[in-house]
């Protein structure tokens, strides 16, 4: 196969792993756009990344980048990883522990540079651009998570790749560094002309960074579209679960988030500040007939507006003071005697509130 897109990535990934896992997905990304590969753990996201990079060979399908065929088992074409001109910000960053920051960036440059010296010089220019010059002589073990991601991105972009792969760039970070790394990503991605593939299991990350989302489950594509389309019209249990997430915006400060109405939400991370996106899983919202005692610090009285039953689960909707959906079992609904109009107490543990810088 050769892709329809001349400028960008066109891939039909068919991979068979020794474990028996089979990946079979189509992936297209035009130049200048970011496509998120969204899926649960074990869906085949990392396999896709290594297949695009050429570390795992395809059993079928093909990959072409800007009209250049990188892998085509049918015709026997296989470009090895070192010749693909791909930049990647790997999961866990994978900075080489035995090289300092400058050495890590220079490593990516060395393959294209005329000499080690030229690579070193260019590496320092990149560090300047990423405001990392102070860290040039530091070892990866001495860096914070956010610093490591910045070095990783500099290393991925330094060699001027044709395709950029980003594997869970935010998931390992604490909320405070997420804001900085997200800003940095946004800033540098806008300057990157080629297609970008973002691999993530976090729908908020996909919504924030991607133009288009490809949902992967158990090795196959189950849905594609813009982040809004996917969340508005979920087509599988997994996307429905994602779509059912409580999504709130607010302003954070001092461990509290003001969502514009009702009491402020207490969160576990006190360092977060400014505009934030809050996600709360419906299962993390509990319903009590009277004021609950215990560790849930976010609790307030509310009135049920509607109840929707799906199999043995119920989705319970609240409008005021904060619009929320809770998910409980049918047995729980019956034993508590919950009906639309029932006055109850809603509770959410601080640790169940996911915060993403907006």
């Amino acid at each position: 196969m050769v892709g329809a897109i001349v400028s960008g990535l066109s891939a039909q990934l068919h991979v068979e792993r020794p474990s028996g896992f089979v990946l079979d997905i189509a992936l297209e990304a035009e130049a200048g756009t970011t496509v998120a590969l969204l899926g649960p753990n074990g869906a085949g996201k990392s396999t896709s990344l290594w297949a695009l990079a050429g570390v795992i060979a395809l059993a079928g399908g093909g990959i072409s980048l800007d009209g250049r065929v990188l892998d085509d088992p049918a015709s026997g074409v296989f470009v090895p990883p070192e010749d693909r001109r791909i930049g990647a910000l790997f999961q866990d960053v994978l900075l080489f522990p035995h090289l300092d920051v400058a050495g890590n960036v220079a490593f990516a440059l060395r393959a294209r540079a005329s000499s080690q010296r030229a690579a070193d010089r260019e590496a320092h220019e990149w560090l300047d651009r990423f405001e990392l010059s102070d860290l040039a002589a530091m070892r990866p073990a001495e860096l914070s998570g956010g610093q490591a991601q910045r070095v990783g991105l500099a290393r991925a972009l330094a060699a001027g790749p044709d395709l950029l792969l980003l594997d869970e760039p935010l998931s390992a970070l604490d909320v405070g560094s997420r804001a900085r790394v997200r800003r940095m990503l946004a800033e540098h991605l806008s300057g990157f002309a080629g297609p970008r593939i973002l691999i993530t299991h976090d729908p908020a990350e996909a919504a924030l960074l991607a133009d288009r989302v490809v949902v992967v489950e158990a090795g196959t594509v189950t849905q594609t579209g813009t982040p809004e389309q996917i969340l508005r019209a979920p087509r599988t249990a997994y996307t429905a679960d994602l779509a059912g997430l409580n999504l709130l915006t607010g302003a954070a400060g001092g461990g509290m988030i003001d969502v514009g109405a009702g009491p402020g939400l207490q969160v576990a991370d006190r360092s977060v500040a400014g505009e934030v996106l809050v996600t709360i899983h419906p299962r993390a919202v509990s319903i009590h007939p009277s004021r609950p005692t215990g560790s849930a610090r976010n609790t307030w009285p509310s009135t049920i507006t509607s109840i929707e039953t799906l199999g043995n689960l119920c989705r319970v909707q609240f409008e005021h003071p904060i619009p929320l959906t809770a998910e409980i079992t049918v047995e729980a609904q019956r034993s508590l005697g919950l009906e639309p109009g029932t006055r109850v107490w809603v509770a959410i543990k601080a640790t169940e509130i996911e915060v993403l810088p907006g």
């Binding site: 070192e82 010749d83 994978l94 035995h98 990516a108």
Partner: protein, 264 residues
Amino acid sequence: MTRGRSPRPPSALIPFAVFGVLLFSVPLIGLLVRAPWSRLGTVLSGPVVTQALRLSLISSVAAALIAAAIGVPMAWILARVEFPGRALVRGLVMLPMVLPPVVGGTALLYAFGRRGLVGEALYQATGIVLPFSLWGVVLANVFIATPFLVLTVEGALRNLDPRYESAAAVMGAGRWRVFRRVTLPMIGPSLAAGALLAWARALGEFGATITFAGSLQGRTQTMPLAVFVALEQDRDVAIALSLVLVAVSLAVLVALRNRWWGPS
């Protein structure tokens, strides 16, 4: 290392550990007690000791370097490449660890001796005779010591997160550059530990050396061989020689411990 109180071992471990330490320390104390301290100077200043020590150091260091040169490629292939008979090849490479060294030396003789499978051709083509030469000593040491390095390095390669090497390839590094600049530095500490093990094993090597390379003062007689023949005649000399061997090895092992086994 972590600061503060060091952890307390489970009580059941203590008697075994103490017994172990005694097992290693008492024989050494025995040597020290029986050492001919008053004659030590005269015994050790003789040419036998200086020549044997020199040969021992040269041959053991050379053996460790050669073991690294051939052991790392073997370890890489054994750890990474799946091929039929891999288990057999690994067993073969590890065999010298269990083979009585004298048998190893005899096997070397039939392979690389003047009349050996390979040695005969070598002798006829070049006139080189490996037995009874320093090269013979080095070859015997390499044969006995290399498995220790292969074992250590293969373990390190298996424990190395393969994603680092894949990442290096994605960054444009060819296979050789990945090996040179990523794999090798990342297994560096294990390689050093393996080379040190190989060196230590080569330093004490006796059986294969005497069987393959013979023993001649100043040419092939290393410290262990000198100790062995000295035992026949004068135990004091043998003990004095052994003490030198112990002192040299302890000095090296203690000096390098910070480097390769972390501070202690």
